[in-house]
């Protein structure tokens, strides 16, 4: 009797434990990504890798003062079929989530850009929905926007690639101009797809810096957030390609979930096993914890690739370490609303709008820290909102 009860209790408990495990462990923070889906466990596509690495060296069209309006090798398309008289358009936005600091920063910038366009009379109403990283929720959000019939343009930042594709296609079929940005979908039915160069370029920027700044034979530890997210995988695939051709030794690649405590724990353990000369990260979350692990172990600072998150950049300046901040351009959040007004005015837009994606080097560090001096630590230096009227309060009082 007692045993039965115990067993029943255990089973129930385990079920719930697993359920909670899922609730909290689900990658709520699959960051910020551009996408091209391929199935199978091979994440490396040579053609895309070559294309992205080449795009880094192409001068983008447009004014460098407004990088969110620049485009790399744009193929301009006609949008007169969507031209609309009279301004005060209703623009709708289906957001995947605001579940990480990168997305929060971008979302604030987007709202400030919308405020400017409302002031100018281009946008009358801006509606948005937040799917909380839930594919099903986002599919129904998009459907609700279509069904309402009120949207003059629909912006979509997809949660995942394959699952959201039919929803985006349905939106296109409704006749509303659709603008996809950040992560992609498996259809080109949208008027424009806006994204920075991409994951291969990001991973390569970071890996090349380590190769250039470390002696041959040096040991590198790779810290990754989680597996299976295409652009994070692309970042790592590019790094593997570059490390493979170098004299560097990769000690290991560890998944950290972006948790600072986990990162510090893992780096500390590697330092107990031996020397670590360089750190490669697929995203800057928790980069400071990795640096502190070296401090607390009394080891010299590694050569490091973080991200343009301010906590890392401030630590970089404070310590004077050799580092680089690869960038996944946060200012891309301004582009979709601007693109919407362009399309509704019948102006040409690029069919695939590739934004510049330049890493921040030591030479630019002081400049970017100065520009972002009042910003909180979990803010991204290349957020591109300095000229918006809400600057800086809207970003500092988040």
């Amino acid at each position: 009797m007692q045993t039965t009860r115990l067993a029943a209790a255990s089973v129930a408990a385990l079920g719930l434990l697993l359920a909670t495990g899922c609730t909290t462990d689900t990658p709520a923070d699959t960051p910020d990504e551009e996408t091209s889906a391929e199935s199978g466990d091979e994440w490396f596509v040579q053609a895309e890798y070559d294309e992205q690495l080449a795009q880094r060296d192409i001068e983008p069209e447009g004014d460098p003062e407004t990088p969110w309006l620049q485009a790399i090798e744009p193929e301009w398309i006609d949008t007169t079929e969507y031209a609309r008289e009279g301004g005060d358009a209703t623009v709708c936005f289906s957001n995947a989530s605001i579940s990480n600091p990168w997305r929060v920063t971008g979302w604030i910038t987007m709202q400030e850009q919308v405020a400017v366009l409302k002031e100018a009379g281009d946008i009358g109403e801006f509606r948005h929905s937040d799917a909380g990283d839930d594919d099903d929720q986002q599919i129904s959000d998009i459907q609700a926007f279509i069904d309402s019939g009120d949207c003059d343009a629909l912006l979509i930042s997809p949660s995942t690639t394959a699952t959201l594709t039919p929803a985006v296609e349905a939106a296109c079929d409704s006749g509303v101009p659709v603008i996809v940005f950040d992560r992609g979908v498996n259809t080109d039915c949208a008027v424009t797809f806006i994204h920075p160069i991409g994951g291969y370029a990001y991973g390569a920027d970071a890996a090349e810096f380590l190769v250039d700044n470390l002696e041959p034979g040096s040991k590198v530890l790779a810290l990754r957030i989680l597996p299976g997210v295409d652009v994070l995988e692309h970042r790592w695939a590019a790094a593997q390609e570059i490390f493979g051709d170098s004299e560097l030794e990769v000690l290991g690649d560890e998944f950290t979930g972006g948790d600072a405590a986990e990162i510090k724990d893992i780096v500390t353990q590697y330092l107990q096993r031996g020397e670590v000369d360089g750190i490669w990260m697929d995203a800057g979350d928790g980069a400071v914890a990795a640096i502190e692990a070296f401090e607390d172990a009394g080891k010299p600072y590694p050569v490091m690739a973080g991200e343009d998150e301010l906590s890392f950049m401030r630590k970089w300046e404070e310590t004077g370490m050799t580092a680089i901040a690869p960038v996944y351009s946060n200012f891309q959040w301004r582009t979709p609303v601007l693109a919407a007004t362009m399309i509704l005015a019948g102006e040409q837009v690029p069919s695939e709008w590739v934004l510049p994606q330049d890493p921040i080097t030591e030479a630019e560090l002081a400049d970017y820290l100065e520009r972002n001096v009042d910003m909180p630590s979990l803010h991204y230096a290349k957020f591109g909102g300095e000229d918006l009227p809400g600057f800086p309060e809207s970003w500092t009082d988040r």
Binding site: L14, L16, T24, V104, W107, Q269
Partner: protein
């Protein structure tokens, strides 16, 4: 011969097993990398393990009284985020904010306890709900991701220690806090409160009939768990700083630790020192994985296997006396 059998009995009971396991894991680490046992690296290990040990003590009180607390991971995360937002880099706010955190931890524990005891909601539903409430509320409050930063003073207990100690190098504050709270937990279990807590988990009706205030001690156990999550939050935040993912999945790790310590889910069995040893064993096991160059992704799988194995093992232990009805004791 009888002595041998008694010894064997003690070692095979789940409480003793964890110490053997811990010794085996440490021996494994020693074979792989003897440098691990040099003072500074051992201290680094204990500093990083301290929060889990303290959480395990808090979780023990709840489990031994017959409940669960699944909200601790979310509470740790909430506390770190609250601290970062309220302190916002100002040294002078450290102490007031610590007071706010203690109050918040106490309040969460109290709410968990009252809902479970007064409203008779199953504790894993109560605390699962609390987990989601905290998770959502914090994201609502911060707009999705944490803001602000911790002060140096706040980070001291989790990150620093007494410098220049011979052999050890640095004696971490986290280790001293862990030892003090651990000793406190052991003493507490020897008081009347501890015995009532144990009795409540073993057989709450019998305990109630004999005059014990079962609901009161169970509520107190949740409050202790909330407070332990607060201390763990201070140490984890201090150790590594603020990030959006702090505390995620900790409830799972800590319950694995407690179960590994031979504490029976459902209550009434197990000692707090074994629960804390279970936490050390988990941390040591992860260290061993790293020394063996196994990927960290293996951890959740191993945790799951440990929970199932430990519960099955404990269930087998419990079945035995029941097979000989003459010796059935009211345990």
């Amino acid at each position: 011969m009888t002595r041998l059998r008694a010894l064997a009995g003690r070692l095979t009971n789940p409480t003793g097993t964890v110490f053997i396991l811990l010794a085996l894991i440490l021996a494994g680490i020693f074979v792989k990398n003897a440098d691990f046992f040099a003072g500074p690296s051992l201290m680094a290990f204990l500093k990083q393990a301290a929060p889990l040990v303290i959480l395990a003590a808090g979780q023990y009180f709840v489990i031994v009284s017959g409940n669960f607390d699944l909200s601790v991971g979310a509470l740790v995360g909430a506390q770190v985020v609250i601290a970062a937002r309220l302190i916002d880099g100002e040294e002078s706010r450290t102490l007031p904010v610590l007071a706010v955190m203690l109050f918040f931890g106490l309040a969460v524990g109290l709410v968990n306890g009252l809902i479970t005891t007064a409203l008779k909601v199953q504790s894993f539903i109560t605390t699962l709900g609390m987990l989601l409430v905290l998770y959502g509320a914090i994201r609502l409050w911060t707009g999705g991701a944490p803001t602000g930063s911790l002060s140096e003073a706040f980070r001291t207990p989790g990150r620093l220690g007494i410098e220049g100690v011979p052999i050890l190098g640095q004696l971490p504050w986290a280790l001293l806090i862990m030892l003090a709270l651990g000793a406190g937990a052991i003493v507490l279990m020897r008081t009347r409160f501890g015995r009532i807590l144990m009795a409540s988990g073993d057989n709450d009706r019998a305990a109630a009939l004999s005059g014990a205030r079962v609901d009161t001690v169970r509520t107190a156990a949740f409050v202790l768990s909330g407070l332990s999550a607060t201390v763990a939050g201070v140490l984890i935040g201090g150790f590594a700083g603020v990030s959006a993912q702090v505390g995620e999945g900790l409830e799972f790790t800590v319950i694995t630790a407690v179960v590994l310590g031979g504490v029976v889910l459902g209550g009434g069995r197990g000692t707090v020192i074994a629960a804390m040893a279970g936490a050390l064993a988990i941390e040591a096991l992860f260290t061993l994985f790293n020394q063996l160059a196994l990927p960290a992704t293996l951890r959740p799988t191993v945790q799951g296997a440990i929970i199932i194995a430990a519960v099955a093992y404990a269930a087998r232990q419990r079945t035995r006396p029941a097979a000989t009805p003459a010796t059935v004791t009211p345990s």
